[in-house]
């Protein structure tokens, strides 16, 4: 018997095949039992008809519990009224395991219960849908980068010390070398990479020991950093814009079923082909003040400000040219205004917040050294990074995109913890 994936039923209509998967639920009506069977690729309704299966087999099927594993043989048919929906009349069924009473039922469960049972919660329709969208977003980002000539360059996770001097690093005792620190971004390493490979990216886990319990924070999350030689600030934003558009287009094409399960308003996602507006930090402050915010020039933006700035916008908005004091030391200064840096944040729509941060990088040795000293960062630990400005320095830019926030935005999921298989938060490292 030929085993096929449920998603491939369309190509096997009228042919006897076998499906292998789990019972989502069953419903019986006289001589019929309807099983919703899932196998990870899709779901299908499989129908058991008592007269053709016989008394005994029918009773066995009737006793199937939720999440029982089965192998079902039959002939897929198109649903008489719904195009592209398929059904299967069961000719034969093999029970692999009758599941014990499944702890996750249709009733509302507390989030702590669900997180403690994350290994099972993953099977629910919504979680399945989000994780499939995560796959699309990850691979979509990669496809776009490969098309644009970026080479994968995995930055290290163990880093020697606070090159960037942040207070939210996880420490790891490391043999006789004291502590190593878990990386928060591979960017500095990527800048070395472009001098060999031209354009590079990494895409792996990063870590933030932040005592934050908001719906947008995880201690372990995935980040893609890209870096390109001879790319300047404006082009950097154009690359980001095309990347986002590419990924959304891919999700709309490949994840229709998933987006429907999540009740995502796909009409909103479909509007992304308009250009993303670029406003300066200064203009953003003005807009916010005009809308009644008491924010002042020099303040960073929080979730509330990000929401106000994209209110009513169908597409994400770039905020560029930030005061140098509130941005990282490596950002290149604006040649037109020494107090600003050529950095940009991309704020998504519908209140999902910042999804990309990027900038042109400082390529002048002395200016960079001055910035390192001004921010009281260690010069010696940054010497290798300074070196990159000594041996064929070039203008270059890059950006970092948070995978989970992007998945949350595209899926329309409010809490980031549902966008990663096993979320890690301040009070949770289990299961």
């Amino acid at each position: 018997m030929k085993h096929i994936a449920i998603k491939d039923c369309k190509a096997h209509i009228g042919e006897e095949i076998a499906l292998r998967g789990w019972v989502r639920n069953t419903r019986s009506s006289g001589k019929l039992i309807f099983i919703i069977l899932r196998d990870g690729t899709a779901e299908i309704q499989a129908i058991a008809f008592k007269p053709s299966l016989g008394e005994e087999k029918f009773a066995v099927i009737k006793s199937l519990t939720m999440e029982s594993s089965v192998i079902v043989t039959g002939i897929p048919q198109e649903h008489p009224k719904k195009p592209d929906v398929f059904e299967l009349d069961i000719n034969e069924i093999e029970i692999v395991q009758v599941a014990e009473e499944y702890p996750i039922t249709k009733k509302e469960h507390g989030v702590d219960f669900l997180l403690s049972n994350r290994h099972l919660w993953l099977r629910s329709r919504k979680q399945w849908a989000v994780l499939r969208i995560r796959h699309t977003v990850y691979t979509g980002i990669q496809e776009y980068l490969h098309k644009e000539g970026f080479i994968r360059f995995d930055s290290p996770i163990f880093t020697p010390s606070a090159c960037e001097g942040t207070t939210t690093l996880f420490e790891v005792p490391y043999f006789d070398l004291g502590n190593a620190y878990l990386s928060q971004s591979g960017q500095l390493y990527l800048e070395a990479g472009i001098m060999s490979l031209g354009r590079v990216y990494d895409f792996g886990p990063v870590f933030r020991a932040e005592k934050s319990k908001t719906r947008k924070h995880l201690t372990e999350f995935w980040m893609m950093d890209a870096e390109a030689a001879f790319v300047e600030h404006e082009e950097n934003m154009r690359i980001q814009e095309s990347l986002i558009r590419y990924v959304i287009c891919k999700a709309l094409t490949e994840n229709q079923i998933e987006l429907e399960i999540l009740e995502r308003d796909t009409g909103k996602l479909a509007k992304m082909d308009a250009p993303f507006p670029i406003i300066t930090y200064e203009e953003a402050i003005e807009q916010l003040q005009n809308k009644g915010s008491d924010i002042r020039y020099g303040d960073d933006f929080g979730a509330r400000e990000e929401e106000m700035l994209t209110e009513g916008s169908a597409v994400p908005v770039f905020i560029e040219k930030w005061p140098k004091e509130i941005k990282a030391f490596y950002m290149k200064r604006d040649p037109e205004d020494d107090d600003l840096v050529l950095g940009s944040d991309l704020i998504s729509t519908e209140g999902f917040g910042e999804i990309i941060g990027g900038s042109q990088r400082e390529d002048d040795y002395d200016i960079l050294l001055g910035r390192i000293k001004a921010q009281n960062l260690p010069v010696e630990e940054n010497q290798w990074y300074l070196d990159l400005r000594k041996y064929g320095s070039v203008p270059h830019s890059g950006f970092g995109i948070g995978l989970e926030r992007t998945v949350a935005w595209i899926s329309g999921v409010q809490h980031i913890r549902e966008t990663i298989p096993f979320p890690r938060m301040i009070y949770r490292i289990q299961p």
Copy 2:
């Protein structure tokens, strides 16, 4: 002026274009200077001719040091004698930066010096070639898995405790929860993933606090773990074999220049289409003893044994059906012999050692519980993993492939530290 990548010169023959990159080296001969220019995508010879550039410009070009960054304008031509080799007569040159004296020269450098200057060493031709092959291997593995219906499922790095009870875990102080441990494999998590998604994989960094200084060890390295529902031992090996063949074929197609730089004997790689032999552990022991080894039944294999077992073989060799005492608790027992498990190691050719470890997994609750207890592993911490055998358990299998070892094998590079951008070893976390 149109900026193009050096690799694209072929499509712009006879057209004036600009190239942006770094000076690999220069050589002058009378009225001519030959510059080897590299931009990360490829190299090209750019030729400065004194009469057409003028005295002053020619003198500037003559002063260019190694690794200086430049933008060169000219018209690409095919080399008169070498097909597919291109040259460029320089019409114009813009010096971006004249590099200071470059510390890495043609003379032999000690490995410690090179590792301390890894941020610069990356630019050397060999390192460039290896990292491009790494890109091919990573993306080749992904392409194969996607073709076979595997969905990306990123396992957590922070894990609650020694589910697998190994002594080589890195510990991370984690807020009020005590220690978290850095993952050594995502496999157990992937087994939860298949129950939702059918077939899944992860591909990220893993960590081993091993006090080992061999050429095959890193403390931080990249691993791909794949797991599939309803796949049994034999099919599991077939998937691995096709995967390896796919990746090698991709490298031979896409990395001809890189393999030539590395002086890799590609004839050996091209022989991979023969079937990979499968021998049992017991047969392997016999073979070794016949070759004069004093290994005994029940011993694990070291580098020497792996080399002996693949000596003279054109293709990798599977060793299957191991004694259960020397393999992990989660491997399914051989139904034909209760003392063996349905695990397999794939040993590469030419002494590059094991590149894949895989097995069918134990899917019976009571047997698995017994194995956990027999190995003195904590039952409570493994309860979530045991749960997977309660709610629709299915036969399933998976395997893990080490990225760096595979890259070393395909590249023919002897030391694994050259196969990752910034290697981390017992005495090195810098730069």
